[in-house]
Symmetry: C2
Subunit: 449 residues, 2 copies
């Protein structure tokens, strides 16, 4: 096979990189399940019209068709660009067979035909949680989304500090309406760019594209600069002197989120009034998340409340969700060499083979170890022991097992990092807990194995 | 959103069904890692020409393109139809950064535009293991593939009995050459259908399509009927009186597999000389796996040795692999109602809420339980306790926790199956191990919770 070049925007990791990704995925799943979220998957494709009706025309969608398509009238299909739109469709389709409120997590790939750049991919993995109820969704779930994700981040000790920023679309919409802004959508688009292009360029956009007066621009930018780790943002907004009923509603909803998250995740979850979120379907609370020092990389965990994404003739299913951008996060950790795996393979032990005739003895040792949950490989060739030790060393496998027969003293196991070799019984010996499986540590963590 | 109908061939499970799938996936992964296989994923798309060059023209491939494609000369892409071809491409592309022999497992979705029917889907999940080496692959890995999968199956106690059937393409090719069959490919295609259409119709195909003489047909069908749980198949083949060097090679390779698997998986792994495997790239040992009583459903776990799928200018990377058809297996288990989950959600405990003002007390209880690995939900509404108990009951959550304040006696927990309610401390109480997580049992297993 010809050596094909990498496809831009379709990342693939080496085994060490995949271990980092697995650490993120496994941690997210464990926290999600501890919080009672059920796993779900939806198919990768949706009818094109379902996807395009969700206001995602600027997110490029990939269409899918059989190469040997005979032109028959099959549905026109496309790969999903997020997990929220398919989940909403799934909820409506299966409403009669689901229990509401439904708590689900969903970890799958999504595809967007955007121009690849740092942190932005054409195929990437998301890990979402959502809670959807029939007719009415209890408000405490808005704080819950941020709290669960904060727990995921705090369970990944190799991450830099994280800030989960929360805002409420009603604050933005109410404030802009109260100001009398004529084209709020254009103003949202401008504010949404503030992290990328800075407030001065946003000021130009607000004037030239959105047609705001100088006074309006000053108010809008002042709102976007409000940040607080508690409910004091309410006072700061009030001080701007804009009055509007929807604004009041948004302020009280965001205050409720900040109150509920104050104790458990103090300082990690903050009210940040410049957060907009591009997607049309959000109607209230919205989230974006940044790694401190890597804000330009973009949000690694975003979402919001959507009150009318899922509905059938009779019922509306309001929901709230948040989505961890696993591929973006992992690409940052790997690209900046912030983390490393303690070894490259799952095996804790390499069982040496004395000669090919006694391979079954080595296989039996491996079987005993595995039966007690110890991952191991059997050496692929009965080479000289030095070569077999090299095989383990190259992969970071910490222990090499020598079956009886090598000498008269029975089985022994060698820690190849220290050179210590001790007699051992495959039915009882265990490695130290820290050596049982590979794990991920901060690259700066020199003390780790 | 309009209620869209299901897309044929793109299965989606309800939460209970997904629990069955997760049980299969988690078990496979654990066994794979215990045997030292590293996790890998490849991108979902490949250049169309890479896929079509692998002799898969009869497997319909899905092409992928951006809806807003501007006609620029981008690679023509398609969704992969298996995990072996992408893995071979990955190995060649990254050979300089991988350790050989490379042991990897890969659990991903694949897509085929075939006509959907029972057990045959357009999108489905496979769980593959492969071992690939540079230049030369040690023969013991051929037995190893079957042994690892046998361990996966024996770790899924709710499955019906499994038969992993092993053959060797060299036996077929050598035998046919020794017979003097003019068009062996046509004969293979006929023999490959024996499970579906029976030996009498295969006899017709061998005569009419493959042009075999009556004597040749008798020999070919006699070969296809040979089966043994040990190495006695060698004698049976010899008795047919066909002589050929490649046949000898195949017999000795298959005998080696049967010898190595005799002890550990006696009776599960059998030599079965009617197994062909459709894919062009297999060159030696091949596997197919059937659930007893459900043979017509097709193989649920297939693979083989491929000596020249992966190569660059200088090096060939021979490999051997086997692939568990997760979606087919799960669809059978669910469709025939062979299994059930002990509950529908991860939570073992529902923490009741006395009133909305004391929700933080319930949240704190949930936090204590989760910190000790006990999954729980907090009741979404401070409804009457009867209603909160109903919420748990509907989902199969076995325990409801009542925070202090309900009466003067402190916290208590109720097993809602028995009605037993006992005082409890969220810092120390644990459910019985069997209630900690939902698990999958045979539907006939009445005694299970």
């Amino acid at each position: 096979m010809a050596r094909s070049s990498n496809l831009s925007g379709f990342p693939e990791w080496l085994p060490e990189g995949r271990l980092v990704e697995l650490a993120v995925l496994d941690t997210a799943r464990r926290i999600f399940e501890l919080h009672g979220f059920s796993s779900l998957e939806t198919r990768s494709v949706e009818p094109v019209d379902v996807l395009l009706s969700k206001g995602e025309i600027d997110k490029e969608v990939y269409s899918v068709r059989r190469i040997h398509d005979d032109g028959s009238a099959e549905d026109s299909l496309a790969l999903h660009f997020d997990l929220t739109v398919p989940f909403a469709r799934y909820v409506v389709e299966n409403a009669g067979r689901l229990d509401f409120p439904l708590r689900r997590y969903q970890i799958q790939k999504v595809w967007r035909g955007e121009r690849p750049q740092e942190g932005r991919f054409r195929e990437f993995t998301q890990a979402d949680i959502d809670i959807v109820d029939a007719n009415e969704l209890a408000p405490q779930h808005e704080a819950e989304m941020a709290l669960v994700m904060a727990e995921v981040f705090s369970s990944l000790p190799f991450l830099p500090p994280v800030r989960i920023c929360v805002n409420n679309r009603k604050i933005l919409e109410g404030f802009y309406a109260g100001l009398g802004v004529a084209d709020p959508a254009a103003a949202f688009r401008a504010i949404d760019k503030i992290d990328k292009i800075g407030p001065e360029r946003v000021r130009e956009l607000l004037r030239d594209d959105a047609g705001l007066s100088e006074a309006e621009i000053n108010s809008v930018l002042a709102l976007a600069q409000i940040r607080s780790t508690d409910t004091s943002f309410v006072e700061s907004v009030r001080a701007l002197g804009v009055h509007n009923k929807l604004l009041d509603e948004g302020l009280s909803e965001l205050a409720a989120v900040m109150k509920a998250t104050a104790g458990p995740s103090s300082g990690v979850i903050i009210a940040d009034l410049h957060i907009v979120r591009g997607l049309d379907y959000y109607t209230g609370t919205v989230y974006e998340t940044f790694l401190e020092g890597y804000e330009s990389f973009g949000s690694i965990c975003s979402g919001g409340r959507y009150d009318s994404l899922a509905r059938d003739g009779k019922t509306t299913y309001p929901g709230v969700g948040i989505s961890l951008g696993v591929t973006r996060l992992v690409s940052l950790l790997l690209g900046r060499e912030m983390v490393r795996a303690t070894r490259r393979v799952p095996a804790a032990v390499l069982v040496a083979v004395v000669d090919e005739d006694s391979r079954d003895i080595s296989d039996a040792v491996a079987g005993s170890l595995r039966a007690r949950g110890i991952a191991c490989e059997v050496a692929p060739r009965a080479a000289k022991f030095g070569k077999q030790i090299n095989y383990a060393d190259r992969r970071g496998i910490p222990f090499v097992w020598f079956p009886a027969g090598v000498d008269d003293e029975g089985d022994s196991v060698k820690d190849i990092r220290t050179g210590d070799q001790v007699p051992a019984d495959a039915g009882t010996w265990s490695p130290p807990d820290t050596d049982l499986w590979p794990h991920i540590v901060a690259a700066s963590d020199e003390g780790a194995p």
